[in-house]
Symmetry: C2
């Protein structure tokens, strides 16, 4: 069935959330339809601040994100949330309290929460997330919050595509430079010690401050990473965190880094789309020749590995043929 | 510099661990050298049992793996460990106690531990892990243990390539069917309630047993997933776990499933290699045209996304040219 993208876009622009949801679904998977939607939304996009939240498990990231949304709403922003963390309540976590927390924003038309399925995505998490950013951005969402777990290549991709990376840690957990040097932890723009009502919060904050100053932790680019203490549960420090997020955005815009990150985000998206097309061809080649492959591997395992070359060749040829038609 | 693969193989066969280490490094990254090594080792491989350990954080997986290694050694097996979990002591975790645990096996020539760097791998974690399996297998390691975190596509790939999947949970953590339905958790062959000296262990075990029987959790294929209670720290139940691992292996061999899994593992490896080659071409195309791409995105963002097609086309052409020469 042909989808009328223009109609969906016009409905979504009028605030019809179902239409928005359908557009998001269209860009989730790589292919001509996703490209069509992106080509239409991209000219309107490029204004939103993309804020990535990452951090260690148990640091209370989800509660904090929920509080940050509340504060952003109070400041008048339309907020979109893309949840990638499989343990996140937004992406189907199951702790009752967290479910309720999500409900907090369910009745607010200025908040749109979308979780990314961690399975079955043909182009991978990163592609889906980056494509969704363009859609939200085009439809006037001014702050786009992405919640990730901070491990794995997908999360690194997404983090790199964010304007602002908030790394959430907690008392006792940050006393280890190794941990901060893993994945996106080390490229934060803002570091949060959540649960700061707990003992050792000051020690952890002091430790982190030291790491930020002496160990070169943080993404840099002329911005000295900020440290904020919060207690999401008690509602403390969240306003300061949102201030820091806003200050970072102002800095990025003034310095021209925001525009630079927008371009790299889009090149990354085009790359992920291209990669997905190549993978799709490969997948098809393998499915079509499965029994043939099985035979080869049983009969002559030495020759079999040179098959990788053959598979890549066939996938490339198939793709070229497809593009031409 | 040209590497003499035959010489390395012959040295590694004589038990020279440095030569083995170099072979592992050669297959870590996709390319002609990796293919050359694989083509040489594959005919000798196909005998080892690949055992994947996965589970929730905090369940004591690393301690349990270490105990399992000890038991496998007592039974006379040569054991290789591939550690993918970034929080694992084997892959550079930093908790002192864990480091010491690793040391347990450091002096034992019958145990080879190799951690997979979670960054900088051109072909991804799965490709590196699957290629290493072939090398270890060819060199007479009879049990190959893979430790993963169980989230992310790489871990799913690796788990699917394992003969036996051991899912490690702990008291209180398994009382939630949702959790068991995430990622590789639901395709276990053996489920372990570790820390079974803790209260609620029986409740969790009963719950899990119910899920295994009624919810269809487990990989199936004619094998009813087994439940084992252990306390890795107290050394309890580990022998029973190793019994279950052995029984599963016997079952796989008798039923013919072992051979089937060997073939799928190799097809997956050939696929990942082909995918890596396609990605490499794409990467090169993008690097060479970066400034051109930046211009296009700045000037005409609508047209820009159709560039994905163009990028894929160029990557495919480049690869075909490369393969021909």
């Amino acid at each position: 069935m042909r989808v009328d993208v223009d109609r969906l876009l016009s409905l979504a622009s009028q605030g019809k959330l179902r239409a928005l949801g359908r557009l998001l679904t269209l860009v989730e998977h790589p292919g001509p339809q996703a490209l069509q939607v992106l080509a239409k939304v991209a000219p309107r996009a490029g204004n939103a601040q993309v804020i990535g939240f990452t951090g260690i498990p148990g640091a209370g990231k989800s509660t904090l994100v929920s509080r940050v949304i509340t504060h952003l709403r109070r400041r008048g922003y339309k907020v979109a949330v893309i949840a990638i963390d499989p343990s996140s309540p937004y992406s189907g976590g199951s702790i009752m309290g967290d479910r309720l927390r999500m409900q907090e924003h369910a009745a607010d038309p200025g908040v749109f929460i979308r979780s990314i399925p961690t399975r079955g995505l043909k182009g991978g998490l990163s592609m889906a997330a980056l494509a969704m950013i363009e859609v939200f951005d085009a439809l006037g969402y001014e702050k786009i919050v992405i919640e990730t777990v901070g491990v794995g290549q997908s999360e690194v991709d997404v983090a790199h595509a964010a304007h602002t990376i908030v790394v959430v840690t907690m008392p006792g957990a940050g006393d280890d430079i190794q941990m901060l040097k893993a994945g996106v932890m080390e490229i934060g723009d803002i570091y949060v010690v959540n649960k700061s009502d707990k003992p050792e919060a000051n020690k952890t904050a002091a430790y982190l401050q030291f790491a930020l100053e002496k160990e070169g932790i943080g993404r840099g680019e002329g911005w000295a990473p900020r440290l904020v203490k919060t207690s999401a549960v008690l509602g403390q420090g969240v306003d300061k965190l949102v201030d820091a997020i806003e200050e970072h955005w102002e800095y990025l815009k003034k310095s021209g880094v925001a525009a630079k990150r927008l371009t790299s985000r889009r090149i990354l998206l085009a790359k992920l789309m291209a990669e997905a097309m190549l993978s799709k061809s490969l997948e098809e080649v393998i499915n079509e020749t499965k029994s043939e492959l099985e035979e080869v591997f049983k009969e002559n395992v030495t020759a079999a590995f040179t098959l990788s070359h053959e598979l890549a060749r066939r996938a490339a040829e198939r793709l070229l043929k497809e593009i031409k038609t």
